[in-house]
Symmetry: C2
Subunit: 330 residues, 2 copies
DNA sequence: AGACCCGATTTGAACGTTCAACACCATCTC
DNA sequence: GAGATGGTGTTGAACGTTCAAATCGGGTCT
């Protein structure tokens, strides 16, 4: 009836509990002949070690907590989805699974993680959507709960983190546009103060400066709410200027999609590059900076489960520019 | 050091293990005086029952499996995300958590669920994206693994399921448009054979018929791939007809967004209603049929954890039409 | 007074696994 | 030949919880 246990396998193979356990965890300790007998019994009974018992014994749940948010600000974003899948995939490779939980706010998140951790339900947690002054890293550090963060706060983070090199992303977009002959390249981004947004703006500015294109670009740096409508509005403002840009780097695909809308409506000539490479970018033939999310997932899991001693605290991964029609036309 | 156990609490309160357990699980068995003493000790030590030990003892993990897919076909879709959050929220209320796993295909999914179930890691599973001839329900039934499905196969499903009344959704959209004075109402949907798509088409057709508007609507029923580009293309075809529709009901927001693109490009007059109420719908001011995902989450959890005996097999939930500018203008 | 019951609490056992310690036998060494 | 060594396998114990059965004081009833 009920699933077979080590004891059942042992009886079937004519050995003891522990020998079965050894076959699975330390095969070299078992004589090949015996091992085969045990393996046959395992196969025949369809035995699977009970993870719960293993967890109890080992004081390790092999579970990683992850807060699933009601709805992420980034509207078009499948980033959340992609990250979740990448983490699950990377976790599988390390024999860990994700446990989802909800929380009302960052403070509540820390409290819930603490509860789950004290209950032995999770070994650690992955943080997403790190803000400039995020209370979670400090909270978790204080509770001595292992964690890894996707993103950095403003300060130097001493905990394990993985981040995309946002600066390099927008810089690559600018390089690409410069190569295509563009000289007036605008930037559309988040309001200042958002860490991610600031880094993307930095990449744009530095790259422009490198090519001596920064002078007289004051009016080309626009910030605002991350929405399609706002992207469209800002694009109109850019086009209405007496020296309009010939290209735009947007901090998100959402903003870029808004720009495209205006462009197509006014039949304007304006190259556009977005950020995040959402499915929508593909649909709109929008060039976009793609975050290597699968790599992020693996790096996060490694950072979380790794020795935790001598590893480097953080890891910066390079994004990749995907060129499509929106910026490739002559 | 390590988290306190019942034993620690018992010692602190001057009682035995079991009394502590009783305070938590059967308070009426404990004298109020003793109870308070134990509760104080629990509070003071910050005791939390170890879920792993509970699981081992009770042969119940209080975990529900959920397959996270690489990328869902519905491009704009945050449905997946929303469902996941709704399930996590509903699970929390029932003291259950979600465990994410990956799989290559439906067959692999069943195999992985079986493995997790035999390992005692999950009590049951929630299925998403049910297809007309889905192999998963039969597979899981055969393995005697509890599950609940979001969506129905073509046949009469004997297992627990929850579904949106898709037919009612598109019908409501038609009703709304008829009320606004529209007489030629088109439908854009999936290719025939997809269960969800067929039901949405049915709703449109039946509602039209009810108002005697079905005659001569052959050219108003278009099907195709679920993409923005395709929506735009189909919209052009509709507008180019010698008796173009004045309104369109689309089977998805993605298609509807495509229609809107064409409409705005050609400055055409065409009311549009989408389906799913994605964030993008909000951004585009697109009317859309909203699925009550939170209710779905709760119903699924109830169906999965409920007695499982005399409950009705399935449950159909009514969607809600959200009216926005795309269909409200005169 | 003795039998009986009842509420409150305790002790023993079990869930399935693996670590630690030990037993056994064959071989090697001095 | 006695002792050390090492490969192979066993048994005992423990992880933290809760069910089941046992215990212990008081009452109450006859």
């Amino acid at each position: 009836m009920h699933p077979p246990t080590v004891e059942d396998v042992a009886r079937a193979a004519g050995v003891s509990r522990q020998t079965v356990s050894n076959v699975l965890n330390a095969p070299q300790r078992v004589r090949p002949e015996t091992r085969q007998r045990v393996e046959a019994a395992i196969e025949q009974l369809g035995y699977r070690p009970n993870r719960v018992a293993q967890s109890l014994r080992a004081a390790t749940s092999r579970m990683i907590g992850y807060r699933i948010e009601p709805m992420h600000p980034h509207a078009l974003g499948s980033m959340h989805d992609r990250l979740l899948h990448a983490l699950a995939e990377a976790g599988r490779a390390a024999d860990h699974h994700l446990l989802l939980f909800t929380a009302d706010d960052p403070g509540d998140e820390v409290a819930n993680v603490d509860a789950l951790h004290r209950a032995g339900a999770i070994d650690g947690v992955v943080l997403y959507g790190i803000q400039s002054a995020d209370p979670r890293p400090a909270g978790l550090r204080h509770l001595r709960i292992p964690f890894a963060a996707f993103g950095r706060t403003g300060a130097d983070d001493a905990h394990p983190w993985v981040d995309i090199d946002n600066t390099a992303g927008t810089a690559a977009a600018v390089e690409h546009l410069v190569t295509r002959g563009h000289r007036r390249i605008a930037f559309l981004g988040y309001p200042e103060g958002v860490a991610v947004g600031d880094r993307r703006a930095d990449g744009w500015r530095t790259a422009l400066d490198k090519h001596g294109l920064l002078d007289g670009s004051r009016h080309l740096d626009l910030r605002g709410e991350d929405s399609l409508a706002n992207g469209a509005r800002l694009a109109e403002a850019l086009l209405d200027h007496h020296t309009p840009p010939t290209a735009v780097v947007a901090a998100t695909d959402t903003l870029a999609a808004g720009v495209l809308r205006t462009v197509r409506q006014r039949h304007a000539r304006l190259a556009v590059v977005g950020f995040d490479d959402t499915p929508t970018a593909g649909a709109l033939d929008l060039s976009s900076v793609r975050q290597p999310i699968e790599a992020v997932g693996h790096a996060m899991i490694r950072a979380l489960l790794g020795p935790g001693g001598n590893e480097p605290a953080g890891q910066l991964l390079a994004p990749e520019l995907i060129v499509r029609a929106s910026s490739a036309l002559p």
